[in-house]
């Protein structure tokens, strides 16, 4: 441990140099160019573009659906993580592996599959159509797609914390007279809070930028079912590059803020779980 500061190992300059070069070429310079491109707009033009009614409507759809989807996943993600860690049942390993499907399945495939299921003549859609419930081509469809996309995030952040959870703490609560629900609500849940928040933010951030799974099921009606990433594509296809860039910058700033939030939450949860 004496040799912490200067490593005897070779390759520092080579690997760090290559890392910085590759990172700059692929990520940093192109991202910086985007911000630079916005600077060709005046502040008034920029503000006018990013607050136009159609753009504002797309924020409402994107942020609203992403938030609700993350909320649904918060509840069901905790439930799935709980069931996978605490209970034994047949096929558990299979279910555990299946949870990652939204990470592995290409988004376009998820999009057309969900559309086929929830369209008025689809497997689930045809049961709901007589009741007057339309899912595909409405905001509900966007919600379904974003819930699918965000599903693994909360399960995978809560699961390891629950696995390492010291059951003794629950035992002490029980021995002090708490019933099972009180133990869960006042003892277990508060300790899962950092992991739940991290998972929620990850799912929310992913949903905000999601495109592939949403475009098929959304219907893409301006002001109603148009998500912000789609609006960027529409502007690019109209060769309105400054407009597309301005909206993209708004999205990038939101993503960076969320990324910082996630880093902070992870730091917080590590502090929470550090052995006393």
């Amino acid at each position: 441990m004496a040799n912490q500061k200067s490593s005897v190992l070779p390759g520092f300059k080579l690997t760090l140099g290559y890392t910085l070069l590759y990172l700059s070429l692929i990520v940093l310079i192109p991202l910086a160019a985007t911000f630079w491109k916005t600077s060709t707009l005046t502040w008034d033009q920029f503000w006018h573009t990013v607050t136009a009614p159609r753009v504002m409507a797309s924020y409402r759809v994107s942020f609203g659906a992403s938030f609700l989807a993350a909320l649904i996943n918060l509840f069901f993600g905790l439930l799935v993580a709980w069931v996978l860690v605490r209970y034994q049942f047949w096929g558990k390993r299979f279910v555990d592996a299946l949870v990652d499907l939204p990470f592995a399945l290409p988004t376009a495939v998820a999009g057309i599959a969900l559309t086929a299921i929830y369209a008025p003549n689809g497997w689930i859609g045809h049961w709901l159509a007589p009741l007057g419930i339309k899912i595909a081509y409405t905001q509900l469809g966007i919600l379904i797609a974003l819930t699918f996309i965000g599903l693994p995030f909360i399960v995978r952040t809560v699961q390891p914390v629950l696995e390492d959870f010291d059951v003794e703490i629950e035992e002490s609560a029980a021995s002090l007279g708490a019933n099972r629900w009180q133990t869960f609500w006042f003892v277990t849940l508060p300790m899962l809070r950092p992991a739940l928040l991290t998972g929620f933010t990850l799912a929310f951030a992913r949903a905000l930028g999601e495109y592939g799974s949403v475009v098929f099921i959304a219907g893409n009606m301006p002001m109603k079912t148009e998500i912000t990433p789609l609006l960027i594509i529409t502007k690019l296809e109209e060769f309105d590059y400054p407009g597309a860039t301005a909206i993209a910058v708004v999205m990038l700033v939101v993503s960076f803020v969320l990324l910082l939030t996630i880093n902070f939450l992870q730091w917080w949860s590590q502090r929470h779980h550090a052995p006393a």
Partner: protein, 293 residues
């Protein structure tokens, strides 16, 4: 009174009664969880194959007897064959620098490496259009020299590299940090060269983590839609710019549902293989850690 600690059981053992729910609650929770996963994961998976085979095996196979489909499959493999090795080399280099040495700004560097994950796929594609497109920063120069990047294969490869950028690195950095440097230092002190140390000491230690990263990286590289869609230009056929996911979109928008789902079933198969491999590597890794402890 017996101290609580002597009452505690090993982690894997069945929980004691005070920390277990009544059976009906347990089965209710398992039931609701499985219903949710069934509805959101199993039904879409089944729907892909049901739609693909809706008109029988003949129509299913017919979807692959098409030059455009074959061209899309080829381009997807070419793209992954370039993007995955490049990000793999980067991941190893970045993890070596970060795990084996101390320098300032390390946390910032790790955050930057993770950056592509928090950028919307659409924006990931757009940044290259702004840089290399006809109206882009380097556009005029590229046109002058007759180099096409956007609406061509290089753009697709670049966008794919961007969206899969962190996969290998973020798998290897924590792994190599946890393994420390003592083994490498020992090898080096005993006279091994840098390359020998890497190939004979580091690589055997990180191979499962590396494989894990490569599997995830490859799945995303072959399945990416949003970023590739922005830079592709959707040119069909041999020498075109359609990858498998983009080809699925075109078929779907032409109401060729059997064709779209047949080609999509190929990607679904890839996803299932990815999950199986991933689970297998995870188990290998867990077994490895088990023997070490």
């Amino acid at each position: 009174m017996v101290p609580a600690s002597t009452l505690s059981l090993p982690r894997r053992a069945a929980p004691r009664r005070v920390t277990a729910e009544p059976p009906f609650v347990r089965w209710l929770l398992i039931g609701v969880a499985l219903l949710f996963l069934g509805l959101f994961l199993v039904v879409p998976l089944a729907a892909v194959f049901a739609e693909a085979f809706a008109k029988g095996l003949g129509f299913y196979l017919h979807a692959f007897d098409d030059v455009n489909t074959v061209a899309a499959i080829k381009l997807t493999f070419i793209t992954a064959a370039i993007a995955v090795p490049l990000n793999c080399v980067f991941g190893v280099a970045a993890a070596w620098a970060i795990a084996k040495f101390d320098f300032r700004g390390k946390t910032l560097l790790i955050t930057f490496i993770d950056l592509p994950f928090s950028v919307s796929p659409v924006v990931s594609g757009m940044i290259y259009v702004l840089l290399f497109g006809a109206q882009g920063v380097l556009g005029p120069w590229l046109i002058e020299h007759d180099i096409q990047i956007i609406f061509a294969v290089p753009g697709i490869v670049l966008a794919t590299i961007f969206v899969t950028f962190p996969f290998v690195a973020r798998e290897l950095i924590p792994l190599m940090q946890a393994q420390g440097r003592t083994e490498e230092e020992a090898a080096h002190v005993l006279g091994a060269s840098g390359w020998q140390t890497f190939w004979r000491v580091t690589l055997p230690n990180i191979k499962w983590g590396l494989l894990y990263g490569v599997i995830l990286c490859n799945a995303r590289a072959m399945g990416e839609f949003g970023a590739v869609s922005v830079v592709s230009g959707h040119i069909r056929g041999p020498g075109g710019t359609n990858t498998i996911p983009l080809h699925v979109e075109i078929l779907y928008n032409e109401y060729n549902f059997v064709g779209a789902f047949a080609v999509a079933s190929l990607l679904t198969f890839l996803a299932v293989v990815t999950l199986v491999l991933k689970t297998w590597v995870e188990r290998k890794n867990a077994a490895l850690r088990g023997t070490e402890n």
